[in-house]
Amino acid sequence: MTALLEIRDLKAEIAGKQILNGYDLTVKAGEVHAIMGPNGSGKSTLSYVLSGRPGYKITEGQALLAGADLSQMSVDERAAAGLFLAFQYPLEVPGVATMTFLRAALNAQRKKRGEEEMSSPDLIKRVKELAKILDMDMEMLRRPVNVGFSGGEKKRAETLQMMLLEPKLCILDETDSGLDIDALKVVSNGVNQLRSKDRGIVVITHYQRLLDYITPDVVHVQSAGRIVRTGGKELALELEETGYARYQSEAA
């Protein structure tokens, strides 16, 4: 069976500076992977390369989503094909109500996939359900996208978008940072509801605590632009003890 995400010897640069140095990763449908690693090791870069952020250039290797070469697809095609990135720093879209944004995004994806658009009443109903799960006030969804949201609120809003869009591959870039303890539980619960045999989830995090709630199948340690160690969920506990020092010297 084709893997959901297959990254082979990927090298990528930004502004002429190579950040990913031969990255290998395979995520199968149904799996949850955690990626941990020191600041600046290229975790966000990986997520941007996969999602096609302008300025990030693949120089070698390949990244395939369900067998399709991502480098051949535009940003929105990748999204319609099921790739979702929960941003480490979600952006603000002034003047555009969150609800309008959700409707535009969902229906744009559906249209690209040749599916029927979701009607407004259905959409509102669905969003209400999700807001309840994530303990969000509907009032917030009438406000412009992320404008004036607190750090934690932004992360909840990212999670809500992800749950609404039901992507095949979810990449969560430090979704836990900025969340208080209760919010962490609520958001993790939302993410766990997305776990399914057809879906892959990649969680980028610095903290073992998130993994107490979202139990990963595989944990990777990334350093200097590639994966240097892979293990089970106990690897996260070990990292909590030892830190990254030995991996940084190894990578260097």
Binding site: R53, V96, Q109
Partner: protein, 495 residues
């Protein structure tokens, strides 16, 4: 390719192809002799069966115009206009003045249908399905084709509430005392080069009078269409809201694609007496010319409102997407105590368009207030300037103004300028001014596209968010239309 770069490319391809209203109506016209002279003015006046004083008024303006020179201070650049190489009057032969709808040339009716403006009252009534009990919005339309009004709808019904809504040429015949009392009192014939020219040769436009205490029962609107080649359109609109009355008025404008430039020099005068309010909205979509700057309308317009009475209010809302050159400053003279002026503007320029637009708020009375919200969007190789004046007279005790001008740039080849003038002669007034200029954010576009929006839709969404404060000021029905228009003006395929 980077999203912004793609947007820029796409915008570059947009030009003549995107303009949906560029068709030409094949109709035989009655033209005045080419060029401008006293004879031509007499010809126009005679065609309209005007009273003698009106002809004199025109001739006086003409003589004054001969002594004036074209203003050059605006940030627009265009070859000299040959005023003798234009027709100053063009009317479809089949319409000798507006008649009942049944008599209007079917070719003209088809033209307005193509423009999305049905002129049959029945159709308008049957237009939009609405939930039981909810009132249907109805819009009375005056359709001006080149130099004449070809039809005005709902006139009879409006008459029942005492509202006069008709072509200004008809008003000159039927209500000469009203026209004479107000015409030229807001924009005097000597006001500026283009207004003076308009005073000499104006052909048609709408006249509105709302009697005291009447809230106009429906939206009024005028659709201007320039069709004939080498013809200038010089419309004249006069709206009077008598004491305690209210009216909401909308104008729309389109023109065929032609390689030659066409001149449009309109004058709009608004008067509000005590406690009256006029809400004036414009959706301006004249042909902007092609991507190389060939063709398009030269839009030199003088619009001014006079809040003559105490507690009266005038509000201008404009969505400007068309024209090769725009030179336009809808203004308010806040004469009555506690009167209020508002200006809400969205000006989009693309291709080689040049916009120099803004407003003037002249505070004369005590406790007068004004508000200016301007959103400029420049793309392609266009230039977009906001020029505004806020002034307070010595007697304008406690006057207040709030101004906010935001400019958004798409790509590197366009430019935006903000030129505010402030003059406060009374120490008690408070004028606030905020301005920003920003480039459309690559990061925000990426964020939207990561959620599945195409680069075009993402741009349209971001721009619509940028102009939201102003869109909200438009009457509901037109806000949707304007939103679509914004997408079309900026995108390759949306709409």
């Amino acid at each position: 390719m980077a999203a912004v770069q793609e947007t820029v490319e796409q915008v570059r391809r947009v030009g003549a192809d995107q303009y949906k209203y560029g068709f030409i109506t094949d109709i035989e016209s009655d033209l005045a002799p080419k060029g401008l002279s006293e004879e031509v003015i007499r010809f126009i006046s005679a065609k309209k069966g005007e009273p003698e004083w009106m002809l004199e008024w025109r001739l006086e303006a003409y003589r004054r115009w001969l002594t004036m020179t074209e203003p050059k201070w605006a940030r627009v650049d265009y070859p000299a206009i040959d005023y003798q190489d234009l027709y100053y009057y063009a009317a479809p032969k089949s319409t000798a003045g507006p008649k009942s709808l049944d008599e209007v040339d079917p070719e003209l009716l088809r033209t307005y249908e193509k423009l999305g403006i049905p002129l049959h009252e029945r159709e308008i009534l049957a237009g939009v399905e609405r939930p039981e009990g909810e009132e249907r919005p109805r819009v009375a339309v005056d359709a001006v084709f080149d130099s004449v009004s070809v039809a005005t709808t709902f006139k009879e019904e409006l008459k029942k509430s005492g509202v006069i809504f008709c072509p200004i040429s008809e008003a000159l015949r039927e209500h000469p005392e009203l026209v004479r009392k107000y015409l030229g009192t807001v924009v005097p014939t000597s006001d500026n080069y283009f207004a003076t020219l308009n005073s000499a040769v104006f052909s048609d436009g709408s006249f509105v009078y709302i009697p005291p205490g009447v809230r106009c029962p429906m939206e009024l609107s005028t659709y201007f269409r320039i069709n004939e080649k080498n013809t200038g359109q010089f419309e004249r609109t006069l709206i009077i809201a008598d004491k305690g009355s209210y009216v909401s008025y909308l104008e729309g404008c389109t023109a065929p694609k032609r390689d030659e430039n066409q001149l449009h020099a309109a004058v709009v005068e608004l008067v509000t007496l005590d406690d009256a309010e006029i809400k004036y909205s414009t959706v301006q979509n004249w042909y902007p010319g092609d991507e190389n700057g060939k063709g398009g309308i030269y839009n030199f317009v003088t619009k001014r409102g006079d809040c003559r009475g105490a507690n009266s209010k005038i509000s201008w809302t404009q969505v400007e997407t068309g024209s090769a050159i725009t030179w336009k400053y809808p203004s308010c003279v806040l004469r009555g105590d506690n009167s209020r002026g508002e200006f809400y503007s969205i000006a989009i320029s693309n291709g080689r368009q040049q916009v120099d637009s803004g407003t003037k708020m002249i505070h004369l009375g005590k406790g007068t207030t004004s508000r200016i919200i301007s959103k400029g969007i420049s793309a392609g190789r266009s230039s977009n300037a906001y020029r505004g004046l806020v002034s307070a007279h010595r007697k304008a005790e406690g006057a207040r103004n709030f101004t906010n001008c935001d400019s958004l740039l798409i790509g590197d080849a366009c430019s935006a300028h903000t030129i505010p003038y402030i003059e406060a002669k009374n120490p008690s007034c408070v004028f606030e001014h905020e301005a920003t200029t920003s480039k459309i954010s690559e990061d925000v576009l990426f964020y939207c596209m990561q959620r599945g929006l195409s680069q075009e839709d993402a741009t349209a969404l971001v721009v619509n968010g940028f102009v939201r404060d102003v869109l909200q000021q438009l009457p509901m029905e037109f806000a949707v239309e304007a939103q679509k228009l914004i997408s079309v003006s900026l995108e390759g395929s949306v709409g």
